[in-house]
Symmetry: C2
Subunit: 218 residues, 2 copies
């Protein structure tokens, strides 16, 4: 079918751009995390808490992807972290070409950790490689325990899942244990982090993961 | 550009299918609501509460769209409402052709109100006409006050917005007033309903809207 062939061509073109990005990231020794999640899953709040806990010495930077507005980039900038905004003007995911164009404007030459916060969308972004070290999917306790099975692609593509807004679990009647089990049912090798950006709970193992889990000093 | 031309062709083909559906819906006198919203925004919970409050005499029916699983259709069936599931197997939105194929399997001949619960995605579904009477966007207080401006397309395409999970507003630190104002900033003619499926708050004006706001007995 013609539509499917065109989609394949789009994905193939993106793969090429992503390979080029990945080579660049690896040569520069930067760890790159592509953050996926639904709108309101808490991706930006997780980044704010992470960046504040890590501090500027760790040379983190952020590429912010949004359909519209620069609200999230402003929140990141307020933590003192170098950030560049991509406004997709309606597009439902980031592409490697968008990231490449944005990196030129990033006001930090050699970050050690680069976060790419994707458009809030639990479906489309998981198909697009951005040259990242790993995809991380963020899912909040407010979204419901069954989300991993209902949106399996993101959980399959990811190396890690961050279960966010732990502080709301009781009010939402969400069993974090079941949400975690459902994520592992879809992808048994997922690394699971359970966090609250509000209280700071669970950030320590997450920071260790970002550093490569190899005892680097944070 | 080739990609854009193909996207236009896809949308044009859908428009044709949607026109056909709309003619059928209008001839049958059924009011059809296309429910959009992020994963976990509370679309299914809103439907459960709505169907239970309205009761079977009102001849409501549901088409459930999901990327994977039939969890939501089972929840709807438990209310005693005729329901048919569309599993999109990865696709990020419903099309009019999918709805047409599903309607054949709907176990109710002449509903008065038909809900089409779209795939959980605040971006893509807003571009696809399903022949509906109106699109309704569901946004929960847990998603954050700025969502309408960050995802304007869904709020522009909709006739009404349902602000859901009112019972969580305090725990989430969400100002419902600001969320409502932000929705109206994007689309000043939106009908706004503020609801909690858990407590039943705000369902009455929502039910009146579904009935056409013309004093039909519910």
């Amino acid at each position: 079918m013609k539509i499917i062939r065109v989609e394949r061509r789009m994905l193939a073109a993106n793969e090429e751009d992503a390979r080029e990005l990945r080579r660049g990231f690896q040569a520069a020794g930067v760890r790159v995390f592509n953050l996926l999640g639904a709108p309101g899953s808490g991706k930006t709040a997780l980044l704010e808490a992470t960046l504040r806990a890590a501090g500027p010495a760790h040379r983190m930077a952020v590429v912010e992807g949004d359909v519209a507005t620069a609200y999230d980039a402003k929140r990141i900038a307020a933590t003192g972290t170098p950030v560049v905004q991509i406004e997709t003007h309606g597009a439902c995911h980031l592409t490697a070409a968008m990231v490449r164009a944005a990196l030129v404007k990033l006001p930090l030459d050699s970050p050690r950790v680069l976060f790419i916060e994707n458009v809030g969308n639990l479906v489309c972004p998981s198909s697009f490689d951005l040259g990242e070290t790993a995809k991380v999917v963020v899912v909040s306790v407010a979204e419901g325990e069954e989300k991993p099975e209902k949106y399996p692609a993101a959980f399959l593509a990811a190396e890690a899942v961050v279960i966010s807004k732990l502080d709301l679990a009781r009010a939402c009647g969400c069993s974090v244990k079941r949400l975690k089990a459902n994520a592992l049912k879809v992808n048994p090798v997922l690394r699971v982090f359970i966090t609250s950006a509000k209280t700071g709970q669970g950030l320590k193992p997450w920071l260790a993961y970002l550093a490569g889990d190899r005892g680097e000093a944070w």
